[in-house]
């Protein structure tokens, strides 16, 4: 598992990258009440706002961590946004991306580095 400074986790699944948010991020957001997902087959650039998450407190975005194509989204989150708080690193993945080269993940933090960052 790799981690971004935006508190996303990235997991390789076959030739795809699965993206979600960390437990730390889910706790900070508070109870998630709404998730808006991108359309599949969308091409995104790194830094594009691809997901909107609203908690009881505020709205926030998830940015595409890398360039690629969104090939799947987790539609379970639409009816059950609370899953983001219950199982942020498992069942509550947001989208899967197809990227040219999985080596782009090397630039991101590993778990120890991420834990150091959040203190």
């Amino acid at each position: 598992m790799k981690y971004t400074e935006e508190h996303e986790w990235l997991r390789i699944e076959g030739d795809l990258v699965v993206v979600g948010i960390t437990e730390h991020a889910a706790t900070q957001l508070g109870d998630v009440v709404f998730v808006e997902l991108p359309a599949v087959e969308t091409m995104v650039a790194s830094g594009d706002e691809v997901v909107v998450i609203e908690s009881v407190k505020a709205a926030s975005d998830i940015l595409a961590p890398i360039e690629g194509e969104i090939v799947a989204v987790n539609t379970k989150l639409i009816d059950n946004p609370g899953l983001v708080n219950e199982d942020p690193t498992g069942a509550a993945w947001f989208f899967k991306m197809k990227v040219d080269d999985l080596d782009v993940l090397d630039q991101f933090m590993d778990e120890d580095e991420y834990n150091d960052m959040i203190g």
């Binding site: 508070g30 009440v33 709205a59």
Partner: protein, 379 residues
Amino acid sequence: MSDLDATTGLKRLGLHDLHLGLGGKMVPFAGYEMPVQYPAGVMKEHLHTRAAAGLFDVSHMGQVILRPKRGLEALCAGFEALMPVDVLGLAQGRQRYGLFTNETGGIEDDLMFANRGDHLFVVVNAACKAADVAHMRAHLGAVAEVEFIQDRALLALQGPGAEAALAALLPGVAAMRFMDVAVMDWDGAEVWLSRSGYTGEDGFELSIPEGRALDFAQALLVRPGVMPIGLGARDSLRLEAGLCLYGHDIDDGTSPVEAGLTWAIQKVRRTGGDRAGGFPGAERILHELAEGPERLRVGLRPEGRAPMREEVEVFAVDGTPLGRVTSGGFGPSVEAPVAMGYVPASYAHSGTAVMGEVRGKRLPVTVVPMPFHPTTYKR
């Protein structure tokens, strides 16, 4: 209650350390460091308050005693000249909702006032309290001593379990009904209480000398079903109850009639009443009561799941701009987004389809009656 933190410039509540000990997440609000939530989180705190009992620290609010100089009647008459509200008719031991209005009919603050026999007790919003005290001193100086109480904490215990939990400490509370006030002794401390609150639930507001507030709060927190609740849930609870937040849903430009607060303007102060008019902004307010206001505060129910928060713009289905959301979010008990805002009177009837713009997309919304969640006051 007003220890100033040197680094933040914010005032600290007398119960600051209790909040920290309970895991409260402190945020700036109205010049104070306030607990916005505890570890349970806004959703659970909200639902707990509706199911059992929630304890809120609202000590940031202003507590004021108006002590008559020339009799209570002269004081009540003077206080009536500041509000479109019947003060003279308020019985001893009862509390009422009031509003300070300005010359243009806008609302300077909303408040609660109680007739405690030989004086009036007033509770005002935190952000307005200095201005309110100055306002009262300027206008009531001839008829009242205006005592700004700064050595008492104010707690609210709200929810269906509030009566049982509080009765364990103050057995007399079970006999009180909605908007009754009383003074009771708890272990040598004088508690000033009212059966009221701002969540839509039955409950109590409790003023207690600051030196005893910690003991009292802890004695309540150990009662079965009582949980500490932060400002986050206080806001979602009052929103579901359709209650206005000053500075958001009402302000110095909105009139009580536009805000749908006509229930707070008793007949005796309206045209044809014995003491009609005679308050700031009477011309506009009485006109709006007779003719109807141009715009109205309404309940808004987004059809989808996307919350519509303050500042979301509201449009007619044909694209005509109508107004804005003044408070909005997710209603944990409604299990859906809820909002309130102002629209022209012709769009204010229940069932009207309108649109709210979220992140550039116009989404369907229905105008609905408030409250969004039924209130359970013990009348």
